[in-house]
Amino acid sequence: MTRNAALVMLACLGCGEANEPVAARASPPRVLSSPAEAVDLDADPLVVHVRLRAAPALHRIGDSEYPGFAYNGQLPGPTIRARVGDTLVVELENALEFDTTLHWHGLSVPYAMDGVTWQTGAVKPGETFTYSFEVTAAGTFWYHPHFDSERQVDLGLYGALIVEAPTEPALDDELVLIFDSWGEFRAESGSGGHGTPGTRPGALEPALGPLHTNEHTPDPGRWTVNGLVAPAFPSRSGTSLRVRLINASNDDYLDLHWSQIRQIASDQGLLPALQTPERLLLAPGDRAEVEWLLGGDDFGIHAEPYSMHGGVALGESHELLRVETEGSRTAPPAPEWPFSGTAASSDPGSTDIVYVFTGDAGGSDWRINGERYPDVTIEELDLGSTAVLELRNASATEHPFHLHGHAFEVLAVGGVAPAVRMLEDTINVRIGEVVRLRLHADNVGDWMAHCHLLSHAEGGMMTVLRVRP
């Protein structure tokens, strides 16, 4: 028996001990709904207490089954819902055969709760770790491991984290859409970025062989929406929906378009004003919120071919999901969002920290400032200081830059200031582009700053930004 097969057998033995609901073997319907939400175990209205169990799982993607992982046996993992000011308590039980963590992507949390393994430990197999922190900002966030991420995220460990603000209107319905492109992880491509070098287990690697894609050529059939391939979302005409979109893919971009994009929020909650772009680009790790004001017409959410190797790519548009409306009522009026109208901050013209991304297409040597994680120079900021970060992409691919523990304001992209104030935690930097960010260092810790193409992060494109007390 090979090592891989033995590990899978061990994983299955572990499955037998699981006390979780077992999904039906038959192909589930293609009807789309939001991922089931985590149960709040605490009666205190100011505390949200949930349990997540990370364990092996068998995913059905299209008509095929693939061994992977899941939280609470669910793909995507349970959506965690809280309100600004709540204390969130999450018990993570590690029923995997290897270390894992939980990272709260986009949320400002205490460093010890950030789920990284820089100077802290991972959650060992069989152990339980309790994450606890106050949620301080409204928006659409997500959670995923920040250890062995390229493999664990690709194989199903992710879920949405919704933080509501009391000032925002309630629409008729809400839909959480988590997009994922399957089969991106290649065990042999990693080099120990998120994980510990030399300890990356490849137990399920062979089963993913057939899913390997062609140098990040997104195979339309491999995109899933909440775990479903090309699903349909049934709704009623005359309905308003708040739709929360998350790109949980390791490496693939979503260049989305549909009949009328009405974007109300990005990474860090509501935008200052409604945006109506023709396309909506979601880099890996990115989120956005849109409103759907449904009339009687069905419509499709399409993804245009888009490559990390320079953007718009050769290929065909494909429909990721279809919205099927019942009835013939007219579209409801637009809700009154409390848009702030805040203008973008002016660029002070000076720079405090520069991060330069380098690496070649098809390569595995990905660097920030010529260094590969974990052998990096730590840039430092004082707590309470405001700094300008400049991102420069001198590589042959695009990079969605993600900073932990903080949100940042976008000052300029390619020398052009945004029309409205943009607060983000993940921003795509195109090839040859310079992006300037304004950062208020308000959270003490050693914060990961990295490319959210997980193969790049594993390949070394990650560094540490220290905010000192």
Partner: protein, 698 residues
């Protein structure tokens, strides 16, 4: 092994252990009734199938081990065993976007192929490779690359490689042989001077010269240095400086050592073109640059077995093993993937070329001077893991195949036996750089960081210039290039007077220079509004970390050749009578006085000014001629006086002082790139602008 079909659950590789483990894995999972299962969807296409086949490869009739076997459009690669066989998994879905072709590639043979291998059968796919003749053929005539507007013939590269050609045709590589600046420096002429009168006024000689590209005898203004006059002082040119070996590598006939003026036709019009680079079979880094030996060109010498393939059996070298088209004769070479092909010309160590001159053997024991060292700078830097192409040849995901003729009419497949490659597999042939039309990469390399302190009516600015993004030094390549740091201070709209600190070196340009002891109130060509910048030497030298001996400990600070200069004061010319000049304030004492210009604002693209002695600094490889002149063209060089160009991740910190008239003076720092030394550009009438690489305010 019999042929069979496998579902997508099989591996694309023929690895039996992995396949066995997979089967066991799936069986175990299926039997694990208590396992957690995720909710999932239905839909999507049914399982795809791979076609398992055996490929038998021979080289000159003998089964060959180590040959690559591949399917066009499929990223998997297989290698033949000792029996010349490889078991492969053919992806039939490739047929949806391209041709079904199985290929075998070997370093000693053109890629062989079988078109449409058909369904699974027990019979092996047989591919017979034949060793190519490694004899370079001087009788071969370099091919016409064509242009976007002239691509009617299949003999032109542009006919099929439309997108790549359209990129290349606008590059400096294409213009390398006809660049008028190069020719002026080659012949010692000033093409911009069009009349004998103007030439005489400039101090030149109006005389006959050979017209580049045609060989015709024309009148030109002979003024300033040139390769031909400098290296051939006695008469008919016999020494050509190796210029053509890189600037016009496609001159037919003997390779290397040719006269640049022999470049005519394709060699002149297209400079560094397809049929030169893609004829490069090998690289010898120890040989002279360009086609004089380092680029091992192999021009085809075999007669084609069938008509329709041209006079010679095609052979081309490139980064891919999957180019089986007989009109190409593709052979993969690794030097297209790494920096070695670029090192063919972007690395030049040169002996003294001027007759009668010699270099200092103690200082340069290898008897050569580092002229172009871009390859070495990159190779020894932290970004050597990213090849040159990662910055200079970005991917183009909108192109599915380099041979994209049919993109226009029939989809993404290549012209023949083609397929769609993965997005980004096709690299743009643009060689982005700071001097291309779009100024690409200008904003990526250098960064400026400013700190300032204010005390006793003086603001002190500390400016750090750092090479954060370039994998080689900045500036790099041609040693005529320089970077100038210029620092200003303002209180509102008022520009503050500099009172001390580092200054732009002499290569920033000056109208006239006077040393201590000379009459500083007498200037030949001063005009009202110009300035005199007074500089003092500290007696010390900057101990920077530069390239080669300038950074590896061999040279002392003094041997590194950058004297520490401090600004004393700047005075403005307010009156001129003959050569007698009056200033707004008396000139202070100093070691050097530079007469220069003081533009109100320095904007990107503005004409270059004479800025030596201004608050700032400078970075360059300063070549010195036998007569002691600095920043000379490299054919005159007998020494490298200094080389403080910023290596990858290196930084230099300078200090600048200004008289402050407000509580919050604003410091502005700009880093500008110059293609040529100011005085050379002025003499030869080269267009010279201030190209802003970086700017910061604080």
């Amino acid at each position: 092994m019999s042929a069979k079909t496998m579902t997508r659950h099989s591996l694309p590789s023929s690895s039996t252990p992995r396949g066995a483990s997979l089967a066991l894995c799936l069986a175990l999972v299926a039997a694990c009734s208590e396992s957690e299962r995720s909710a999932g969807g239905t839909g999507g296409a049914g399982p795809d199938v791979f076609v398992r086949r055996v490929v038998a490869v021979t080289l000159d009739g003998v089964p060959v081990a180590g040959a690559s076997v591949l399917q066009g459009g499929n990223p998997e690669r297989w290698t033949t065993d000792d029996g010349g066989r490889a078991e492969i998994s053919i992806d039939p879905t490739i047929a949806e976007v391209g041709e079904m072709v199985v290929m075998a590639a070997h370093s000693e043979a053109r890629t062989g192929f079988v078109y449409d291998p058909g369904p699974a059968t027990p019979d092996p796919i047989e591919i017979a490779l034949r060793r190519f003749d490694r004899t370079d053929n001087p009788a071969y005539v370099f091919g016409d690359p064509g242009e976007p507007t002239r691509r009617e013939s299949t003999g032109q590269c542009a006919h099929c490689h439309g997108t790549i050609n359209a990129d290349w045709v606008n590059t400096s590589h294409r213009a390398a042989a006809k660049n008028p600046t190069v020719h002026d420096l080659y012949a010692g002429t000033v093409t911009a001077i069009a009349t004998a009168t103007e030439c005489a006024a400039a101090g030149g000689t109006w005389d006959l010269a050979t017209e580049p590209g045609t060989g015709a005898s024309v009148s030109r203004c002979h003024l300033g240095d040139g390769v031909l006059p400098a290296l051939n002082p006695g008469g008919a040119p016999a020494a050509f400086g190796g210029c053509a070996d890189c600037h016009a590598p496609g001159i037919d006939g003997e390779l290397g050592g040719r006269d640049l003026l022999e470049a005519t036709g394709v060699a002149f019009e297209y400079g560094v073109h397809c049929d030169v680079c893609h004829r490069t079979e090998s690289i010898d880094l120890s040989a002279p640059a360009g086609v004089a030996g380092r680029l091992g060109l192999l021009r085809p010498s075999e007669k084609p077995p069938t008509p329709g393939l041209g006079e010679w059996l095609p052979i081309m070298f490139g980064p891919r093993s999957d180019v089986p088209n007989p009109l190409m004769g593709g052979v993969e070479r690794a030097h297209f993937h790494d920096g070695r092909l670029c090192a063919g010309c972007h690395q030049l160590d040169q002996p003294v070329l001027v007759p009668g001159a010699a270099l200092d053997g103690d200082r340069w024991p290898d008897a050569t001077l580092p002229i172009h060292s871009t390859y070495n700078e990159w190779q020894t830097g932290p970004l050597s893991g990213s090849p040159c192409a990662s910055c200079h040849m970005p991917p183009d995901p909108s192109v599915g195949n380099g041979a994209d003729l049919y993109n226009e009419v029939a989809g993404p497949e290549g012209v023949a036996t083609g397929w769609r490659r993965a997005p980004g597999a096709v690299r743009r042939h643009v060689w982005l750089g700071p001097r291309d039309a779009a100024g690409s990469l200008r904003k990526l390399g250098a960064a400026l960081f400013i700190d300032k302190t204010l005390a006793a009516g003086e603001v002190v600015a500390t400016v750090s210039v750092e090479n954060v993004g370039a994998g080689h030094a900045i500036p790099t390549g041609e040693p005529l290039r320089s970077l100038l740091l210029l620092v200003e201070a303002h209180c509102g709209a008022t520009r503050l007077a500099p009172t001390g600190g580092d200054v732009v070196p002499d290569f920033g340009g000056y109208l006239e220079r006077k040393l201590a002891g000379e009459d500083w109130n007498s200037w030949v060509a001063a005009k009202v509004g110009q300035v005199v910048r007074v500089v003092q030497h500290t007696g010390k030298f900057h101990d920077y970390v530069g390239f080669g001996p300038f950074g590896d400990g061999r040279f002392s600070a003094a041997e590194k050749g950058m004297a520490q200069e401090r600004l004393v004061a700047v005075r403005t010319v307010v009156g001129v009578q003959g050569q007698s000049v009056s200033f707004d304030q008396p000139l202070p004492v100093g070691d050097v006085a530079y007469l220069g210009e003081s533009p109100a604002t320095l904007v990107d693209g503005a004409p270059a000014s004479a800025l030596a002695g201004a608050a700032g600094f400078g970075f360059a490889r300063v070549l010195v001629g036998a007569d002691g002149r600095r920043m000379v063209p490299h054919f005159l060089a007998v020494d490298v006086a200094s080389d403080n160009r910023l290596l990858p991740r290196a930084k230099f910190v300078s200090e600048h002082r200004f008289a402050a008239s407000c509580a919050e003076p604003e410091i502005t720092a700009r880093l500008v790139h110059r293609a040529y030394p100011w005085d050379l550009a002025r003499e030869r009438r080269f267009e010279l602008t201030e190209s802003v690489f970086a700017e910061a305010r604080k």
